[in-house]
């Protein structure tokens, strides 16, 4: 809490909850000399990203992910991470009428295997 001082009640509450607001003041030394790391592969441009949001955390991700997968699948939005409806797995969500209930029926796809199954 070196660089931030609460100026209103909400900020004071945040401080009361935790003394550690490093995550809220990205870039502050000494624990975080650099902005947070964005893991291999994914993007800062899409909002939210696949594995990490644009701050490098998970708070901004679509949650639960199962609720969002249909959009990724049908629009081919994350073609390297989610099976796409147009090409690799047209029937990926066929057994999953309601993601909240049937999410276990969504398989991990290995593209060559998927073809053999079909």
């Amino acid at each position: 809490m070196k660089h931030l001082t609460p100026v209103n009640r909400k900020a004071a509450k945040v401080e009361a909850v935790t003394k550690d607001v490093v995550a809220l003041q990205q870039g502050g030394p000494p624990q975080q000399p650099e902005p947070p790391h964005i893991p291999n592969g994914c993007s800062l441009v899409f909002s939210p990203g696949w594995e990490a949001d644009r701050t490098g955390g998970t708070a901004g991700l679509c949650q639960p992910v199962e609720r969002d997968l249909f959009d990724c699948h049908m629009g081919c939005f994350w073609p390297a991470q989610v099976p796409d409806q147009l090409n690799h797995a047209p029937d990926w969500t066929a057994k999953c009428a309601a993601a909240q209930k049937d999410w276990r029926k969504i398989d991990l796809i290995f593209p060559a295997d998927e073809k053999k199954k079909g």
């Binding site: 945040v14 909850v17 935790t18 550690d20 607001v21 490093v22 995550a23 809220l24 624990q31 975080q32 947070p36 790391h37 893991p39 291999n40 592969g41 994914c42 993007s43 441009v45 899409f46 696949w50 594995e51 990490a52 701050t55 490098g56 955390g57 998970t58 708070a59 991700l61 949650q63 639960p64 992910v65 199962e66 609720r67 997968l69 081919c76 939005f77 073609p79 390297a80 991470q81 989610v82 099976p83 796409d84 147009l86 090409n87 690799h88 797995a89 909240q100 999410w103 276990r104 969504i106 398989d107 991990l108 796809i109 290995f110 593209p111 060559a112 295997d113 998927e114 073809k115 053999k116």
Partner: protein
Amino acid sequence: MPFVNRALTVTFVFFVATAANVAGQAPQPTAAPTAKPEEGIPVTDATVQKACGSCHRPDDKGQMSRISFIRTTPEGWQTIIQRMAALNGLNIEPATARQVVKYLATNHGLAPEEAKPAAWEAERRLIDFKYTANSDAESTCNKCHSLGRIISQRRTRTEWDLLIATHRGLYPLVDNQAFRRGGPPPRDAASDGRPPDNRHPFEKTIAHLSSTFPLKTPEWTAWSANMRPARLDGTWALTGWENGKGAIYGRVTITAGSSPDEFTTNATYRVARTGETITRTGRGIVYTGFQWRGASSTQAADSSMREVMMVDRNWRSMEGRWFNGGYDEIGMDVKLERVGNDTRVLGTDRTALKQGSTAQELKIYGTNLGSLRPADVDLGPGITVSRVVSSTPELATVAVDVAATAAVGARDLFVAGASRPKALAVYDKIDTIKVKPDWAMARVGGDTFPKMLAQFEAWGYSNGADGKPDSPDDIELGIVDANWTMEEYAATYNDDDIKFVGVLNEATGRFTPNVDGPNPKRSGERNNVGDVWVVAKVLGDSVSGKPAPTLRARAHLLVTVPLYMRFDPARGQ
């Protein structure tokens, strides 16, 4: 309600106009025919001609469309075959596919100089890679892919064009996501007075990739002329680092297999700090004369590891990574060096000795150590070897006394003429610790998808002569045993990730994430994802009667969602 109708009509016309406008800007196919056909690599193998030839017909020079104009790694060729099976109706027997991969990875492969910068991709390392050569190429590809996938390919200009065209054909959104510029083109002239560069990012990317990663390179011309199967049979000394456990030392016996580029292996090694002994047997194939791809296992179930190593061109050493886990995240860095008759010191079980400590047992790992006497072992001024406890050709245990006045700092170890620089350090006290890695990623799993684990290590440091932490003269003391806990990484108000993300083993520093799937106990039925600090605590040294301080360090752990699709190069092997 005429007014409303009119308003709707106006809106409709506006949308039509907008749509027509967008249609008017629709991109044209990118595969521009070149004036003179580019020269490729003829395919001379009958298996490849038969397996691929019905679509990729050879021309009069034996060049097959697409195939003759691409070079890449074994993983790259395997992914291509998997994609042909998935999307283009290829029906191929696994044995044939292996032959095709072997031929293409060897004859349409990468030279060592080309493969090395992308080695982390085949070694499946989770690293923070920054491609600095061209920001358009980085952002165009990196939005979906690891850059390792791109820099491990070589193609002709036409092939890079076709790669982009394939993406635009298969994934309609990609133009908006990555390939085309958002917003109006730049209008201002460049700083040198030239007109603005109005090319779209994908056009600049093609220009960059086709000049930086062309099919024909001096490196490949030289390597392919000199390439031959590497003769690797013999005995090799193994040194490595298993994440979380520390240094490993041992030996690998490589035996020639059924063809000149295939081998079987037998590895025995010890974890230096604990003495745990592991024996693995396996087999390997060497592609392109230098790319080792193997698999080995112990007697235990789920012990299989994949091995990816680069063989040095002198056939005397190879280096890489052995790994397993749901996302290849658990593993070790390894180096193999050919063993002759010479004595060699590989390392020690302890990497730090305290001033004034006596009768300390020190294990020395090596090759051909022979029967040692105390005088054969030299650790420098202030350290006396009082006796040899036991001695075998590969492991010697000695007892040492460290003088209270021994100077603080790293010591080279000499054993019977062989040496290991900076084998261990003499220190007065542990001043700070660090957690390595300073960030890590795990993925929830265990219900439908595999778990991705994360492993942390605590390292001790002495401040050195200047008495200040984080300075160049700090003395690295190696791994220290720590107590591991998690703390909340406060990213949002009322952040409660720590309750859901999973379990950190308090003794080993290994994080095991919670199960995948929506969690009804979380607000919004969120998954068990989140951000936490991983905190290591180590009891420091008591100085002049004061209570020993607790040393602390932490790392950021991101626990996130599974990957739902993977082109897995290991699958089907």
